[in-house]
């Protein structure tokens, strides 16, 4: 009990302090800030580079979620259904590599490849989205595949096939709707990871396509209250992204099952 309590304090104290700090007028060499104000949030709102980064982050997250869904669903299905254990093992290793390799390494690679004359895409928002997709896709694949195993999707498909449903029919009627819960939880993870991603974004984002965490770094060189306010906004952004991810998946699942 005591240990749990201590752990929770350890976990939430920084977040609480951030909140407190973001409303504090000045905070130097004291335990708690002195005076209350909303001016840090106003300053933040007035700052063009932060506003821009906020929008870019939202765009990148939404696009990453969409790309992950479009790529991840068929890919995870193919991995689950692929016949031999050997193929499955190889695919699993490949899909885990982006997790094992530090984003820093990936970022350097991107810089090397995409600053060349043939592929001059470094700094574009699309490259950023692609990078995020590579980093977070394995998490989605894992969630989806373990759910497929749990559901015994191949038996459900067999049943559907014996009832007369062809491949596409099964995929639309059975496979996709059965996975809507794991797709939702997978997308929450994808959104949260993408919104907080710093290492890769910091390396490959162009000046106009910097994401929020990248710009946030600069706030730490300024006033404490401003930094706190900027970080609180990131927290809220992450929460919103997670909720948005869950929402999209649920409505997608619901609209499919209505037609059945």
């Amino acid at each position: 009990m005591v240990v749990t309590a201590l752990y929770f304090i350890y976990l939430f104290l920084p977040i609480v302090l951030l909140f407190v700090g973001s409303f504090g007028q000045s905070w130097t060499n004291t335990l708690l800030p002195t005076g209350t104000t909303l001016s840090w949030y106003w300053t933040l709102f007035e700052d063009g580079s932060f506003r821009r980064a906020f929008v870019v982050s939202l765009e990148v997250v939404v696009a990453t979620c969409v790309v992950c869904t479009v790529v991840g669903l068929p890919l995870s299905y193919a991995m689950y259904r692929s016949a031999t254990r050997g193929v499955q093992a190889v695919v699993r290793v490949i899909s885990l590599l982006p997790i094992a390799v530090p984003p820093l390494v990936l970022g350097f690679g991107y810089i090397l490849v995409f600053s060349s004359d043939t592929l001059p895409w470094l700094g574009s928002q699309w490259l950023l989205i692609a990078g995020h997709t590579v980093l977070v896709l394995p998490y989605l694949l894992h969630t989806l595949i373990s759910d497929m195993r749990h559901l015994q999707l191949h038996v459900l498909e067999r049943a559907a096939e014996s009832l007369g449903a062809g491949f596409w029919r099964r995929f639309i009627d059975i496979v996709v709707p059965s996975l809507r819960h794991s797709l939702a939880s997978g997308l929450i993870m994808v959104a949260a990871l993408s919104i907080g991603e710093f290492q890769l974004s910091n390396l490959i984002a162009g000046f106009l396509s910097r994401t929020y965490p990248v710009v946030l770094l600069q706030a730490f060189y300024g006033a404490t209250g401003f930094a706190c306010a900027a970080t609180v906004v990131l927290l809220i952004l992450a929460l919103l992204a997670a909720l948005g991810g869950a929402g999209t998946a649920r409505t997608a699942g619901a609209s499919r099952s209505v037609g059945a």
């Binding site: 067999r158 049943a159 009832l163 449903a165 709707p177 059965s178 699942g253 059945a260």
Partner: protein, 343 residues
């Protein structure tokens, strides 16, 4: 509709496992159960009929149409799976209506038919529930309704009762049999539970190492098994190695038994089969096939009592009786002593 298998063989790539040269006809209205130990090939056989596997040799016919190469979805067969395989995201009625939806039936019409089918399995009140909120027995009835609603050519049951508890299993057995007879549909029922097979089927097939070794009525299969392993698999059995000593006698480890005329030659090795319920208590008339014995284990099941007895020093015997008293001697009427080919 008739299901007919002609010399059907299938081996899994790179192994010797599969089914070998199976011939089987299931006429309209008949329920054939296939029993066998796990790994004997019974599920393979079902998957061949369903179309999930394509035979390496032989032909499969539905009525007179050759369906050997057809994919499962065009065979029009109702199938019930061990794990029910209900679609978790669809309501019970939508599950049952799904095969009709696939066949392009209009929404109102297919719901009407699905409801009627649910009525027949006694689940009309559960139509709007999700399968996950139903008990195992109810889920199995939904699966059955879904497999029958589109009036399939035949019904395939893959161990449909093995996930249910014992009391429910007996109940579901009767329900399956009732529905099957109402619909008059050819049914292939795969199970490892021989009691289930004997009680539900018109004919029972025993499959061993991929071969259909005996296909007969339940009573014949039990009373006249062709081999030692069939006798051992179907019901309880005393199986003793023996040697023929005369036209109506056979010697086993604990003495000589009189049997009916068996038509085997003197000196031939054989296996002697006596079902436990055929063993009578006490010395018989004239002392024929009578032995003093000592009980080593006694199990009470209510209606019957199953005991292990030792005859002499080495003969062990399994018997069943309704008597409650002490057992000191047993006798085996000669007509219940059967000779099977030697191992």
């Amino acid at each position: 509709m008739t299901v007919r298998l002609e010399n059907v063989s299938f081996t899994y790539p790179g192994t010797q496992i599969g089914v070998l040269d199976v011939n089987l006809t299931v006429p309209r209205g008949e329920l054939v159960a296939i029993i066998g130990a796990s790994g004997s090939g019974k599920t393979t056989l079902l998957n061949l009929v369903a179309g999930f596997l394509i035979p390496t040799a032989g032909r499969i016919y539905l009525d007179d149409e050759d369906v050997t190469q057809l994919p499962p979805r065009t065979r029009n067969l109702g199938m019930v799976f061990q794990s029910y395989a209900l679609f978790p995201h669809l309501s019970v009625v939508d599950n049952v209506a799904y095969p009709l939806k696939v066949r392009g039936m209009a929404n109102t019409e297919r719901r009407k038919l699905a409801h009627a089918m649910l009525q027949r399995v006694g689940l009309a009140d559960f139509a709007l529930r999700k399968p996950g909120s139903l008990s195992g027995g109810q889920q199995q009835r939904v699966a059955l309704a879904r497999a029958l609603v589109f009036e399939p050519q035949a019904l395939l049951l893959d161990e449909p009762l093995s996930a249910l508890d014992a009391a429910l299993r007996v109940d579901m057995r009767d329900q399956i049999r009732g529905l099957q007879q109402q619909q008059g549909i050819a049914t292939l029922h795969i199970t490892h539970d021989q009691e289930e097979a004997l009680s539900i089927a018109d004919r029972v097939g025993v499959i061993e190492r991929g071969q259909l070794v005996q296909l007969d009525t339940p009573r014949n299969l039990y009373d006249r098994p062709l081999t030692r392993s069939i006798a051992a698999f179907v019901g309880h059995a005393n199986l003793w190695d023996g040697e023929v000593t005369g036209p109506e006698t056979v010697r086993v480890s604990f003495g000589t038994l009189r049997s009916g005329p068996h038509g085997r030659s003197v000196g031939e090795r054989c296996v002697v089969l006596v079902r436990p319920e055929c063993v009578a208590l006490g010395h018989g008339d004239g002392g024929e096939n009578s032995f003093d014995c000592r009980i080593t284990r006694d199990r009470f099941f209510g209606a019957i009592r199953r005991y292990d007895a030792i005859i002499g020093d080495q003969g062990t015997l399994l018997g069943e009786t309704g008597e409650r008293g002490d057992i000191t001697a047993v006798h085996i009427p000669a007509r219940h002593v059967q000779l099977l080919p030697g191992a």
